[in-house]
C-alpha cells in the first residue's frame, strides 16, 4: 500500500500515475468551469494533470471522447440526484416535483462544468449509447414524476398528458439554469429573486392550472 492522503496527490512519486483517467477528468472539469467546454486543448489537460502530452491517449481516443465521458458521468450523477429528490413522490407529488426542480438547479449550480459538458458539449454527443442511456435515465425521473402527478389531478377536467408536463418542467428548469445560473460567462442577468424561487413559483403556478395542488 502506498502512502496517500484521502485525495490522490497532484505530484506523483512513481512512474505510473495510478488513476490518471480520473485525474484527467478532474483537470478537464476545472478547465471547463473556468473557460467552458471548447476552452482547452487535450495537451493542456495533460499538463494540468502533470503528465506528458502523449499520456492521455492511453485513456481517451481524443478530446471529444474525454468530454463525452465527463457528460456521461454527469448524467449518471444528475439522474441519481433527481431520483433521490423525487423520493417516490413523497410527501406528495407537487411537493416532490418542486424538490426535483431544486435538485435540478442545485446540480447546475454545484457542477456547472459537468452541466455545460452535458448540454453544450460543442459536438454531437449522441454516438455513445451509454451516454444516451444515462441521459434517458435522468429524463425518466421527470417523466415518472409527471405521471404520478397527473394521476393525482383533481377529478374534474381532462387528465393532462404526462409527457407534455414533463417536457414543460424540464424546459423551465433548463431555461432558468441556462439563463440565470450558467457558467461564468457573464451573461447572467440580475433578478429580484433567486433562480430557485423563480422556479418554484413557476412550477406551482403551472401545476395549479392543471388542477394539481398540494395535499
Amino acid at each position: 500500500m502506498r502512502f496517500s492522503t484521502d485525495t490522490p496527490r497532484p505530484t506523483r512519486d512513481s512512474y505510473h500515475h495510478g488513476n490518471l483517467r480520473e485525474a484527467l477528468m478532474e483537470a478537464a472539469l476545472r478547465l471547463i468551469a473556468e473557460r467552458g467546454p471548447g476552452g482547452f486543448s487535450f495537451a493542456e489537460v495533460a499538463r494540468a494533470a502533470g503528465v506528458s502530452p502523449a499520456a492521455p491517449y492511453r485513456h481517451f481516443r481524443d478530446r471529444n471522447a474525454l468530454i463525452a465521458e465527463i457528460a456521461r458521468l454527469g448524467y449518471e450523477r444528475f439522474a441519481q440526484e433527481l431520483e433521490r429528490a423525487w423520493a417516490d413522490g413523497r410527501p406528495d407529488p407537487v411537493r416532490a416535483i418542486e424538490t426535483v426542480g431544486r435538485a435540478y438547479l442545485g446540480f447546475a449550480r454545484r457542477e456547472p462544468a459537468a452541466y455545460a459538458a452535458m448540454f453544450e458539449p460543442g459536438f454531437p454527443l449522441e454516438e455513445d449509447p451509454h451516454l444516451l442511456q444515462a441521459s434517458e435515465r435522468a429524463f425518466g425521473v421527470l417523466r415518472k414524476a409527471a405521471e404520478l402527478a397527473c394521476d393525482s389531478h383533481r377529478s374534474q377536467g381532462v387528465r393532462p398528458p404526462p409527457l407534455m408536463v414533463a417536457l414543460h418542467i424540464w424546459a423551465l428548469c433548463h431555461g432558468i439554469a441556462a439563463l440565470f445560473i450558467g457558467r461564468a460567462d457573464g451573461n447572467r442577468r440580475r433578478m429580484p429573486m433567486t433562480p430557485e424561487e423563480l422556479l418554484e413559483a413557476g412550477v406551482l403556478i403551472y401545476l395549479q392550472s392543471l388542477g394539481l395542488v398540494k395535499v
Copy 2:
C-alpha cells in the same frame, strides 16, 4: 457603379472588397451554424470570405469582437421581431404573448447561428454597452407584454408581479429553444409535438393559472 447581382459575389474583381465587414460576419455565421461558436478560427473566416488572413484586422480587433458584433446585431433583429410579434398587445394580451413566443422560437430556428452567438458565445459578452442595450431591448418586449397582461388579470386574486411573469416566459422559451431546436448538436430529443405547440400549451396553462384568459 459596379456590375453586381443582388448579393455581393464571393470572388472579387477589384483590390478592395467593398463590404468585407459584412462578408466576414456572414462567413462566420455560416461556420457557427455548422460547428457552433468556438468551432472556427479568425484565419478561417478570412479564408471563407476569400481574403488574406490579415484583412479581418481592419474591421475587428479579434475573433471575439467579431462574435460580439454578430451577437449584437442578432439581438437587434431579435428585438425587432419580438416587437413586431407583440403588436402592442393585439388582438389581446394572451394571444399576443403566444405570438411573441412563436416569434422567439422562430428566431432560434431561422437564425440558430446568431442565437448561439447570443446565448453561448463562449466568452463574456457583457463588456460592449451597445450589446447590453440591444439585449435589454429584446427582454423589454417580454417585460412590456407581461405588464400589460398582468394589468388585465381577472379582478379576483392578487395581481401577479410582471417581472416574474416575464422571466418565467423567457425561461420557458429559452429552455424549449435550447433543448428542442438548438444547433445541429445532435442533442435534440424526439417529441410527440412541435416545439411551437409545446410552448403554446405551456404558456396557456401558465397564464390561465394567473387568471389571464383570452377575451
